[in-house]
Amino acid sequence: MLPIVSITIFLPLIGALFVMTLRKAPAPVVHAIGIGISGLALAGAAWMWARGVNASGFAQVEQFEWMPTIGAAYRVGVDGISLPLILLSTILFFLTFIYSAKVRERPHAFVVLMLLLETAALGTFAALDAILFYVFFEVSLVSMYFMIAGWGHEDRQRAALMFFIYTLLGSLPLLLAILGLYLGSDPHTFDMRVWIDNPPLGGMAAMLALVAMLFTFAVKTPVFPFHTWLPAAHVQAPAAGSVILAGVMLKFGTYGLVRFALQMTPDAFREAGVVVLAFGVVAALYGAFAALAQSDLKRLVAYTSVNHMGYIVVGVAIAALALDPAIRATALDGAVLQMVSHGLVTGALFFLVGMLQDRAHTREMSEFGGLLKVVPILGWSFVLAAFASLGLPGLAHFPAEFQIFLATLHVEPVAIIVILGIVITAGLYLRAISAVFLGEPGKKWASMPDLSLREVLAVGPLLILTIMVGIAPFWVLNIIHKTTSMLQF
């Protein structure tokens, strides 16, 4: 059988090496290679999707020995939690390459870094070996650092530095937890499947490992109060970087929360579940209120990410606390679907804000007005994405958040105050829409061009998928549910 998982992961890396050899090729050629390679990766992910997952654990597993003496091997595979994220990542990378085809500043290095980032992202989701996971996890940091430092806005060096140091500080505790799990397993192995089937640690050791992992993933997700790197990084990052950062890399945090924290230290997680739940609720509400206070569109979208990721943390915590397997599955279904929805919707929003900034060279909401009449396609796209982001039924976030809230009501009814977040986001998006797109168009923007074909191609698929997930979430949920309904802990 063709090792399609490995091919999909490493195709972008090979593409990156190939681009490195083409020092003289003009920018359009380089971008075309980027689009082509990421398109092939997307096709690979679609193929994986067609092969599907099985209910008994991981599917499409590919492995070979790497460092047998210490029990590390190259192991990749997918289940209902990772497969949707892999598909999401390949979609977002493909569209980002289309969107970025205009980059003329060092296009070679840009495409190389983006392809490297794609390999790192796909590897992180598909890895079934803890060392391999950590390798991909860190490589993504390095690539994103150079992305922000190289193609960001005014204050990019500081933001990139802050991003790198903050998230490295965040990810090193995971290394401790991995070492703890390794030394606790018998025989010593880094095989994540073994750790999931037989959680190697118990009691105090498990709790310490959990705390280390929660710290890592809380920084990555990010959860209040570890979120301070996020607005800085987003504001300075180029639009392409923001889309990948929010759409793909934030998912590392929530994916790790499920894969590592929940599945490898389940008992400790259940004990600490209420604390995690509280963090999730606070993050969701804080993100919403902080977004309300922003006048910069990009910061606003960045803070709504904190809000949406907070719902995911709530969903995972509820899954840990739930005693009824059906409720647990509902909570996890919601959490995983929320990851996908957030990738689609926030990806679209960051694209649109980037397009607006390309035209106006500002993101201050007060500078705009009445743009719906000037640039109708951009305007209506933003309105649609904003409605999706605030959780309107029929759009992507609704089925996800609905399931999370449903499970929350069953398990910990008090936590349902988190629903307030929806009200606040609704308010802030309506305010943003009215400030930027409604009213009389300012003279300054009268000649603003509407979306070009390239831009429509970048953002259009995301909006279509947003509607598809909103109206018929089953095509994603079927895959997710296969795994979540079988989880034992």
Partner: protein
């Protein structure tokens, strides 16, 4: 006797290399000395390979042929060869060129004796041999800067050496033997054990530049030619660390040595990186970084006897450290000593820029590079040995180290309209050196199994 000599073939080859290189230098054939040195070092490396897997000792237990000493040869001999390449490129054609190669080999011999020491007398011999050659190497440029650095170095070494010999005499009195394997007799004599331990830590700590015995290092590195600085940050340092490992192997844990070394590890890592943050001279920055890196080795040293990972970790990290540190110094040689020389390097010389980023990220411990595998094993060993708190400190220091190394990376990719002074391409030997170091920095990261396989 013949059996013993057969185990010492690599050391004997190095010694013969010294003799022939010296003869060539006396004949004013510096180029020949260079070739002889390189060939001798390579031959010695090749002749070490058949020893792999041996675990014995020679000359009545005074010299150990074990994993540490065999791998020390496999790491230090090629590292010396790379340093010789750098030295040729830096001081080639100058007066007394050949003596530098001779001295490099002699110091390496001292480091090899240290890393296999089974006897306190051999410790002293190794320290002296490695020390005497180093003073001369530092003083090589014969300017005020170098002379002052060599003088500081010499005084420091003399004092610490004297203290070490004095302290070792207590161990001799306590055990009635100079053999390290008899140190277990100190179980019931805690005061004597402690005095000797402190003395050994001072003596070897100076060579490994552990805080607080590191003061000579930044001055010496900065005063010396860059190739010598690169060499001293790797070869004698690793020799001293392996010697420390040989000593504590036999030392009863009841003396409390793991805790003492753990405290020194914390001081070394933290002080090294904090000071490195303030440097604007790259050689000094790398000097402080190499001080801090020495602290990481101690995580493996404290785990000896308590974790099966300890020796693997020490050796893998030693190999990784040799590759990435020599690589970084080679790039500095091709660029310049000032931090400003690096601005725009990533744009003017893309390949060298990428290599430097890889070396520095490997020094931080970012996967999948060599430094990551080494540090990962060191962390695992020290957690296994019950020193989780020390691992946490080491991890926090890794974050700090990122800030240190990014101080070099950030200007490399900054927009720099004023054309950098170092636009000229560096010499071929420098490029060759960082190229080899680059391959090993990536290779050890991805194929550490080659080393692991020797331990199973």
């Amino acid at each position: 006797m013949e059996r013993d000599l057969a185990f010492m073939i690599p050391e004997i080859i190095v010694l013969l290399t010294v003799v022939f290189a010296l003869i060539a230098e006396m004949l004013r054939q510096a180029r020949l000395a260079f070739v002889v040195t390189l060939l001798g070092l390579l031959l010695a490396t090749v002749m070490t390979v058949p020893l792999l897997g041996e675990n014995t000792s020679v000359f009545d237990g005074t010299f150990r042929i074990d994993m540490l000493s065999i791998w020390a040869k496999l790491i230090l001999l090629p590292a010396t060869a790379l340093s010789v390449l750098l030295a040729r490129s830096e001081i080639g054609g100058s007066d007394r060129e050949g003596t530098v190669y001779v001295l490099l080999c002699l110091v390496t011999l001292g480091a090899l004796l240290l890393s296999g020491a089974g006897d306190t007398m051999l410790l002293v011999l190794g320290i002296l041999l490695a020390g005497l050659g180093s003073f001369a190497l530092v003083a090589y440029p014969r300017n005020d800067h170098a002379t002052e650095a060599a003088m500081k170095f010499f005084v420091f070494a003399s004092v610490t050496g004297a203290i070490m010999i004095f302290g070792l005499s207590y161990w001799f009195g306590g055990t009635g033997s100079t053999q390290l394997s008899d140190l277990s007799r100190l179980e019931t004599k805690p005061v004597i054990a402690a005095i000797g331990l402190i003395a050994v830590i001072i003596g070897l700590g100076y060579k490994a530049s552990l805080v607080p015995f590191h003061f000579w290092a930044p001055d010496a590195y900065d005063g010396a030619p860059i190739s010598v600085a690169a060499y001293m940050s790797v070869v004698p340092k690793l020799g001293a660390i392996f010697a420390l490992a040989q000593v504590v192997r036999d030392l009863p844990v009841s003396t409390g040595w793991p805790l003492v070394i753990a405290v020194i590890a914390v001081l070394t890592m933290t002080y090294g990186y904090l000071t490195a943050l303030a440097q604007s001279n790259i050689v000094r920055l790398l000097a402080y970084s190499s001080i801090a890196q020495a602290g990481y080795f101690l995580l493996g040293v404290i785990a000896i006897g308590a974790s099966p990972l300890a020796f693997t970790a020490l050796i893998v990290f030693a190999a990784a450290y040799a590759a990435m540190n020599l690589g970084a110094f080679a790039v500095v040689m091709g660029t310049g000593r000032a931090l400003d020389d690096f601005s725009g390097l990533g744009r003017t010389n893309i390949a060298m820029g990428v290599a430097m980023v890889v070396f520095l990220l490997s020094l931080v411990g970012i996967p999948p590079l060599a430094g990551f595998v080494g540090k990962f094993l060191l962390f695992g060993a020290s957690i296994d040995a019950g020193f989780t708190w020390l691992t946490v400190v080491a991890i926090l220091n890794s974050v700090l180290s990122l800030a240190v190394y990014l101080r070099i990376v950030v200007p490399m990719y900054q927009q720099n309209d004023a054309a950098p002074a170092s636009a000229s391409r560096p010499a071929g030997l420098v490029t060759l050196t960082w190229g080899i170091a680059f391959v090993f920095t990536l290779g050890i990261g991805l194929a550490a199994q080659v080393i692991f396989a020797q331990f199973s």
